[in-house]
């Protein structure tokens, strides 16, 4: 048994969903996403018993490209994030009607397929193919099923597509250069390539451009808020919950171990850039008028901290970053879902037009508040574990990094509670707001359960990712 099974389930699922027709598409997609989740849990068990679930197959001989999937703890953690969030995201869309639903749901599964492939790929070119493949479905999802003015949406989405594609081309160039040196795209061969400091710097920067746009790290983030706002909520969830983690994951998996000298030389600059994103994102979030845009900037702030943690090149930084990637994935999906629930009832995301919802919907209010608190990393939520670990790792590099990065604790509370107050509290709204339906309640409750469980007991995940992070760290420190 090996991890390719997941890819097969998702890909086949996408096809079957498409041919199942509009009526059944959502249910079929949910079924396959759950099957993929079940399969990843089974695989995790196999992995824990010590079984090798990785895979290397020769694929193309000239140039030498292999179909190599590497399932170590780190990849499995990301795999679980993807396969756990996909059903939640699909289920969350059940309250909405989509035109051409079969294509919509097929694209979601296809995107999950491509993202899973990105996390698992152990061959540079295969990885690159998955990486780019993931862009295609989200492009269509945002373009066709998005909201707002069609022309503006087209502009935002096309800009996003070209921008990320352009960034990735630099990464492709880097891979080709590396292939010349190593004669292989296999990750372990790339880890071994001896490069001069100068070569490493160029490789490092080429990777960085691709990742900085995807994550995004400031000042490469300009596509983000608009696309998050214009995409349908499902698309926003896929982007913010999973896709941006592709970039963060790749920093740890590809960029740092392949160009360790450059990483060590310039780490302070990149940590500072990440932290600048924390402060900048938080401040911009403060004055956003649109709920989804506010969440987009809050996301910018959080991923800035994750990136900063990754660039510390320490075990704590890596570990905190990965924990926070997972925690952020769940919380951000939950928050965007809450925004969607509000939109379904009031048909607006304009914060100024909201308010007075609490009196009408105690259940929704409680769940939304828990998500807000998780997002500001209250202890006993999963997000606290990640944020604390990252900040601790930053403090070991330079205490000022921790102080500046730590402002997220204050600013985050400021913009999130302000938003919560304006959206939920105050005199009862004149429009009626129905409390969460059963479907909505299940999705939110599932997310909250994950956040609180791992807030108390993060050990299973820490134990899963630590050995592989140590391996990567060894590669970095060997040269």
């Amino acid at each position: 048994m090996n991890v390719s099974l997941i890819l097969i389930i998702l890909l086949v699922g996408a096809f079957i969903t498409y041919f199942a027709g509009d009526k059944l598409a959502s249910k079929v997609a949910l079924f396959f996403s759950l099957a993929a989740l079940g399969c990843s849990v089974v695989l995790l068990n196999h992995f824990n018993t010590g079984e090798n679930i990785s895979l290397i197959n020769a694929w193309i001989n000239q140039p030498k490209i292999s179909f190599a999937l590497n399932a170590d703890g780190l990849a499995l953690a990301m795999l679980l994030l993807t396969t756990a969030l996909t059903p939640v995201i699909i289920f969350s869309s059940f309250g909405n009607e989509y035109k051409n639903a079969k294509a919509f749901y097929a694209l979601i599964l296809f995107m999950a397929f491509a993202m899973t492939g990105t996390f698992l790929a152990a061959d540079g070119l295969l990885y690159y193919i998955f990486w780019e493949l993931a862009l295609v479905p989200i492009y269509f999802i945002a373009l066709i099923w998005g909201n707002g003015d069609a022309e503006e949406r087209r502009k935002a989405v096309v800009k996003f597509f070209i921008y990320t594609l352009a960034g990735s081309l630099f990464m492709l160039t880097a891979f080709i250069y590396l292939y010349q040196k190593a004669g292989s795209f296999l990750i372990e061969d790339l880890y071994k390539v001896q490069l001069s400091a100068c070569e490493q710097l160029w490789i490092f920067l080429a990777f960085f451009l691709a990742y900085a746009i995807k994550i995004p790290i400031i000042p490469f983030h300009t596509w983000q808020a608009n696309v998050y706002q214009k995409a349908p909520t499902v698309g926003t969830m896929l982007l913010s919950g999973i896709m941006l983690k592709m970039g963060l994951y790749s920093v740890i998996r590809w960029q740092l171990p392949i160009a360790p000298l450059a990483a060590k030389e310039y780490m302070n600059i990149f940590i500072a850039l990440g932290i600048a994103g924390v402060i900048y994102g938080s401040i911009v979030a403060l004055r956003q008028k649109d709920l989804k845009k506010l969440l987009a900037y809050s996301s910018l702030a959080h991923v800035g901290l994750i990136a900063a943690g990754s660039y510390t090149l320490t075990l704590d930084g890596f570990r905190g970053a990965v924990l926070q990637m997972i925690a952020h994935g769940f919380v951000v999906v939950g928050l965007f879902y809450a925004a969607e629930i509000i939109y379904r009832r009031f048909e607006t995301r304009d914060i100024a037009a909201l308010g007075g919802i609490r009196a009408q919907s105690p259940k929704f209010t409680s769940m939304f508040l828990i998500l807000v608190l998780a997002s500001v990393a209250l202890p006993t939520t999963f997000n606290f574990i990640g944020e604390f670990t990252v900040l601790y790792s930053l403090s070991q590099i330079n205490i000022w990094f921790a102080v500046l990065g730590g402002t997220t604790i204050i600013l985050g509370a400021y913009y999130m509670l302000k938003m919560f107050q304006n959206v939920m509290l105050g005199e009862t709204n004149s429009k009626t707001f129905a409390d969460v339906s059963i479907n909505e309640g299940i999705s939110l409750a599932a997310i909250i359960a994950v956040l609180i469980f791992f807030g108390f007991y993060p050990k299973p995940i820490t134990d899963l990712i630590t050995p592989s992070l140590e391996t990567i760290l060894n590669v970095i420190n060997k040269n």
Binding site: T222, A225, I283, V284, L286, L391, I399, Q421, L425, K459
Partner: protein, 627 residues
């Protein structure tokens, strides 16, 4: 057995919280209230068992549940430490907590969301217990932030009022500023000693050769910033008076008796760290003294009965920090306890008054309530005597010890503390005279309905008044049970204890006279001369400055809040669009380049040929010149 006891202690209020969240509404108000009360009472009973165990064996209990967070050189357990300090704290947290829950059953009975109130209150007790019994700084931090959350929920309990919501938000954010300090302090300690566990840390510090004292002091300073947030010290105190927006039982429990003492708890817990950071101790003493004075001056002129008590709380907390700054931890703890008794009583008493007047909080519209509300009057009078330091009420002993300690270390700070104490006596009796004496100044309607509150309200008042009277017995000068009980916590020998000599008796006399002086002035001004404070628009001069709290809120607004918001708008409107334009510009430039390049392809063979020959010439001449 010990593990089970500890779990019952923590989980009983949590269970109460869950029951009230999920079933509170269907259980009905009274049942939900009694379940909430019982949950805390169970914790109180467990605490009594633990207390009994500790006083007989003299040993604390450590319970480790499981590994919580793994960091390379730190291993952080979810564990509890039940020793002298935490059990003492638990006694008044759960004891007073039970009384206030009981009180709330009656006080909140008209509120449609009463079950939620009890849920939040139970959740608060759960987090407060966690804060107190955590065996390391990070478990303390769970409680620390958790009580902050409950404070947020309860200040904003009446969420339809956006002013209250603002107050709640402000409390949370200001506390978080302190929390960042606490986190940074933890990071420094963690990297210095590879542990956040109190017991291990104590041994590590005791055994360390070549301690990096400046770094340790920095850590202590950061931790103190955390304490400033939670315990409302300058410059992070402005949230506490606003927190009075919450229902009065909340003010009594959270914003007077328990949560706000968390900073003092933490400093006392880490006494072995602060003992080594002498400069930081000085900072603590100075900040404490200044806070006590500044808050007292503001309290002199407030007309909202709860505001007076709120500033009084800030001021009293300042006195406790004054003691901490001199390393007199047991003295600070003593005052924490007596203050919990009399301040809880005062707040609950004010709640009884407010309840009786259907929400009136302005003392200018009170007066003469003595006859209609005798129990409330007498219990509040006792507590006022206690806080004013009248012999032999509890506050007399604890405040006296603080001033005595200050006198031995720093005369200026002693003077500051004494002046604050005189002011305290004045404004407390100003409150008493305005509220309970002379004629009633409210409406006829209110006058008609004046009545003493029910037994659920008066019973807790009487218990607390009793404690406020006799609480001083736990630490009599020269024969202190408390100091002996707490002795295992502190590294220094109890040689600091002051023998009662002439100086001490003189100081005591001065303090008592000061207190009586304050009361006398209040008596003359508000009883003899029958003054009633001016209406808001007639307040002028210094009084106006004090009445408006030195305009500190306005200053913070101008210095921090508005600039951040302006920056946010600037980023949003200019930087964001600017960056966007740059990216777009790059795309456009590429497009433009292609467009210009396209022009070259005119299809004219002649032009191509010309370019070809030109190029050829260039290459040939280059090769030629290169040779």
């Amino acid at each position: 057995m010990d593990t089970n006891l500890a779990l019952v202690l923590v989980l009983a209020p949590f269970l109460g919280f869950l029951i009230n969240v999920f079933f509170g509404k269907s259980l009905g108000k009274t049942v939900s209230g009694f379940i909430g009360t019982a949950a805390v009472a169970i914790s109180f009973i467990v605490t009594l068992v633990l207390f009994n165990q500790i006083t007989s064996t003299g040993k604390g209990i450590e319970v480790t549940l499981f590994d919580w967070i793994q960091i390379s050189n730190l291993k952080i357990n979810l564990g509890f430490l039940l020793d002298q300090l935490s059990v003492l704290w638990l006694l008044f947290v759960t004891g007073i907590g039970s009384l206030i829950h009981l009180y709330s059953i009656s006080y909140m009975h008209d509120d449609e969301n009463m079950h939620k109130f009890f849920a939040y209150l139970n959740l608060f007790v759960f987090f407060m217990i966690t804060l107190v019994i955590g065996s390391n700084l990070l478990v303390l931090f769970i409680g620390w932030e958790g009580v902050g959350l409950c404070s947020y929920l309860l200040i904003g309990f009446w969420y339809k009022n956006q002013d209250y919501n603002d107050a709640a938000k402000k409390a949370f954010i200001m506390n978080r500023i302190g929390d960042l300090g606490l986190l940074i302090g933890m990071f420094i300690i963690g990297s210095m000693f590879s542990t956040l566990d109190y017991a291990t840390l104590k041994t590590a510090i005791a055994g360390a050769a070549n301690l990096n004292l400046p770094l340790l002091s920095l850590a202590a300073l950061c931790l103190f910033i955390g304490a400033c947030g939670k315990s409302a010290q300058i410059p992070l105190y402005t949230w506490l008076p606003d927190a009075m927006a919450g229902p009065t039982p909340v003010s009594a429990l959270i914003h007077a008796a328990t949560m706000v003492t968390a900073g003092i708890f933490m400093v006392t817990r880490l006494n072995f760290v602060f003992d080594l950071a002498v400069d930081v101790q000085t900072v603590i003493a100075v900040i404490g003294a200044i806070t006590s004075l500044v808050a007292a001056t503001i309290g002199l002129v407030q007309n909202d009965i709860k505001k007076v008590l709120a500033y009084s709380t800030v001021s009293q907390l300042g006195l406790m920090f004054l003691a901490l700054g001199f390393g007199a931890y047991e003295v600070a703890v003593f005052h924490v306890i007596t203050h919990a008794f009399f301040k809880a009583c005062l707040f609950l008493g004010s709640g009884s008054v407010i309840h009786g007047l259907h929400g009136e909080q302005d003392m200018r519209n009170m007066g003469g309530l003595r006859k209609a509300m005798p129990i409330t009057f007498w219990t509040m009078l006792i507590s006022s005597l206690a806080i004013s330091g009248v012999p032999f009420f509890s506050g007399f002993f604890s405040k006296d010890e603080i001033l005595l300690t200050a006198f031995h270390h720093s005369i200026p700070l002693y003077v500051v503390g004494s002046v604050a104490s005189i002011m305290t006596a004045f404004y407390m009796f100003r409150l008493m005279f305005l509220t309970f004496f002379k004629e009633f100044r409210g409406t006829e309607e209110q006058k008609h309905h004046l009545h003493e509150s029910g037994a659920l309200i008066t019973f807790p008042l009487m218990i607390l008044a009793l404690l406020a009277t006799f609480g001083g017995l736990i630490s009599l000068p020269g024969n202190s049970w408390l100091n002996e009980y707490l002795a295992p916590l502190f590294t220094k020998v109890a040689g600091e204890e002051h023998h009662l000599g002439t100086t001490e008796y003189t100081l005591m006399g001065v303090a008592v006279l000061g207190g009586l002086l304050g009361i006398l002035i209040a008596y003359i001004k508000y009883f003899k001369q029958d003054n009633v404070p001016e209406a808001d628009e007639n307040i002028t001069g210094l009084t106006k400055v004090l009445y408006n709290k030195y305009y500190v809120d306005e200053a913070y607004e101008a210095i921090f809040v508005r600039p951040v918001n302006a920056l946010s708008r600037f980023f949003r409107d200019y930087i964001e669009t600017g960056l966007s334009a740059v990216v777009f510009g790059l795309g456009k430039a590429a497009n433009e380049l292609a467009f210009q390049g396209k022009k070259l392809q005119t299809g004219s063979i002649g032009l191509y040929l010309f370019a070809f020959v030109l190029g050829l010439c260039a290459i040939v001449s280059y090769i030629f010149l290169a040779q």
